[in-house]
């Protein structure tokens, strides 16, 4: 059974194609991670699931309900924690939660009980009666999470829930999400953090240009990629000429599939090899050419490698691009009705 089924979603904003035939199935009870660079279409996808926008074409089924025909039913089953936290600065956190409870038509008694429960759970007691305007990013995020959980949704959708948070808040949120999963909630979250998806998700998809370009469990994806990773430095800070020379030497070693020069890391070499058996051969080759080994590490493929393979760039590049191009004010303007 799937909690969320998206079929061939298309969505354009003028000439910009935000979604281009996106198909995604989120199994019931899973914690599903959506990974993708800036502008890949993650937020658009989640907005469609939450009935905030309608796709130009395609099918959206949430909790077995056709979201395009019966959006209000979907809204009752769903909690949504948006990317840009919209909070009323003048209200206190408690007042905001009360409002939210009324919008979901909770009976007065349950509402109060549920709110105190969440205040305890998310450790908000010390500041929940202060105005939201004075909250830190982590506090806001927690209030937002609480308001998404207030009506005990079967499905919780989170758009980059820990972006910009300190490590402590982040791990508190991670812990909560895992607890929710244990209790049977289906979670779908988008993220820029590989680590987040790697730690939390049991299923994931990589989205690029409005399409799913890879999906499966993180382990499956890593295994499918195959090969081991070797990072090599012949001296602490090498240069372009030397690293080119070493690359020439190593590409022909048995079992070496690929050698990439990583300029950002002092011209270190990133190799993909068939298996550990290649390591002695590499050492031998370097020794023959009178080259030292300053550092050499060996690892299984990481999600970063999966990401690189799928999108053609490392997450670091994507992140740098993101911080340069991101304009949150503009984004919230974009989401205006």
């Amino acid at each position: 059974m799937f909690a969320i089924e998206l079929q061939k979603l298309m969505k354009s904003y003028g000439s910009v194609k935000a979604l281009n035939g996106l198909t995604l199935n989120v199994p019931e009870g899973s914690l599903y991670g959506l990974l993708g660079p800036n502008g890949a279409g993650k937020t658009s996808t989640l907005r469609i699931i939450c009935t905030l926008i309608a796709p130009d074409s395609g099918k959206v089924t949430v909790a077995g309900i056709n979201a395009l025909v019966n959006p209000r039913k979907v809204r009752r089953e769903l909690g949504y924690v948006a990317q840009e936290v919209a909070i009323d600065k003048i209200l206190t956190g408690r007042e905001l939660l009360n409002l939210q409870g009324d919008l979901y038509h909770l009976p007065q008694r349950d509402k109060g009980k549920r709110i105190s429960e969440l205040i305890g759970l998310l450790d908000m007691g010390d500041w929940i009666d202060r105005r939201c305007g004075s909250y830190s990013g982590g506090m806001r995020r927690r209030v937002d999470l609480a308001s998404g959980l207030l009506h005990q949704p079967k499905i919780l959708v989170l758009d980059e829930p820990t972006v910009g948070l300190d490590i402590e808040s982040r791990s508190a949120i991670w812990e909560l999400l895992l607890q929710l999963k244990d209790q049977g909630t289906t979670l779908l979250l988008s993220s820029h953090y590989l680590e987040e998806v790697e730690t939390l998700a049991d299923q994931m998809a990589i989205i690029d240009d409005g399409k799913v370009i890879a999906e499966g469990s993180p382990d499956e994806l890593k295994r499918a990629l195959g090969g081991d990773r070797v990072t090599l430095k012949v001296r602490e800070f090498s240069n372009a000429r030397e690293s080119e020379k070493v690359k020439e030497l190593l590409v022909n070693v048995d079992g070496v599939r690929q050698v990439v020069i990583n300029r950002a890391q002092g011209f270190s070499l990133n190799l993909v090899v068939d298996n550990q058996g290649s390591l002695p051969l590499l050492k031998e080759k370097l020794a023959q050419n009178n080259l030292q080994i300053f550092a050499m590490t060996h690892s299984l493929p990481s999600l970063d490698d999966v990401y690189l393979q799928a999108t053609g760039r490392t997450l670091l590049d994507a992140e740098l691009e993101m911080t340069a191009s991101r304009d949150l004010r503009k984004e919230s303007k974009k989401s205006m009705r």
């Binding site: 905030l52 003048i90 979901y104 005990q152 929710l180 989401s335 009705r337």
Partner: protein
Amino acid sequence: MTKSLIEIDSLPSEGWPFSEIIQETNALTRRLFLQLMRRPSTLLAGILQPLIWLVLFGALFSKAPDGLLPGGTSYGRFLGAGVIVFTAFSGALNAGLPVMFDREFGFLNRLLVAPLRSRKSIVFASVIYITTISLLQSLAIMWTASLLGYGWPGLGGLLLVSFTLLLLVFAVTALSLGLAFALPGHIELIAVIFVANLPFLFASTALAPISFMPSWLGWLAALNPLTFAIEPIRAAYAGPIDLGIVLLHAPYGEVSGYGCLFVLLILTVGLFFLISPLLNRKLA
């Protein structure tokens, strides 16, 4: 944590549509009033501005020759009705602002992902809020006017005043809410409010009767919705109420008290019909 966060079987069941609409409208209205209580400056400004009009303008003409105005009323008493209506008008003109801010800051999205029984609740809340505020502001002005010796309309008159203001406030609120969804941002909305405010005041019978005006301005004043609200209220202040008599000598003809109220009613209904497709689309 031992408490279960999710009990799939105990999902809230569908309640009665009507009680759900009441619950959500009530919550949204309460939010607006909480905001107002914590930021009362707009409310105070909305009372202070007309008070200044009343005091300064009243003083400006206090030595005007007797019999200057039709019916021989004093200028202060004449002005009172105009300022009351202007207060309600400029209050209602602001109705769209909270909605616009919610659009801009994304709070509206929070409302739209919730399973509201009717998204009209968002509109209802704004109407209830702004109507209450406008009427309160107008009452404050009426009370001050009576302290200044400009009269008090009595109980029947008070009902007529409230009814007239209610019609005007509904109409202007509809207009402002429509603008809040049609315009791109609060800067534009504030610009429209700012620009609309004074011309509507001057091109009405709030400050002077039509007989004082050049004919082009007389025409404008006789078409201005404010005028249709001012005249019945002025009549309520003038003494025993008779809505059957002619209250407005417009260039295009004579309009009775009933006529004035009828025009306001048509305007209100018309504006709500006009903006309703826009609201439906934006809140769909």
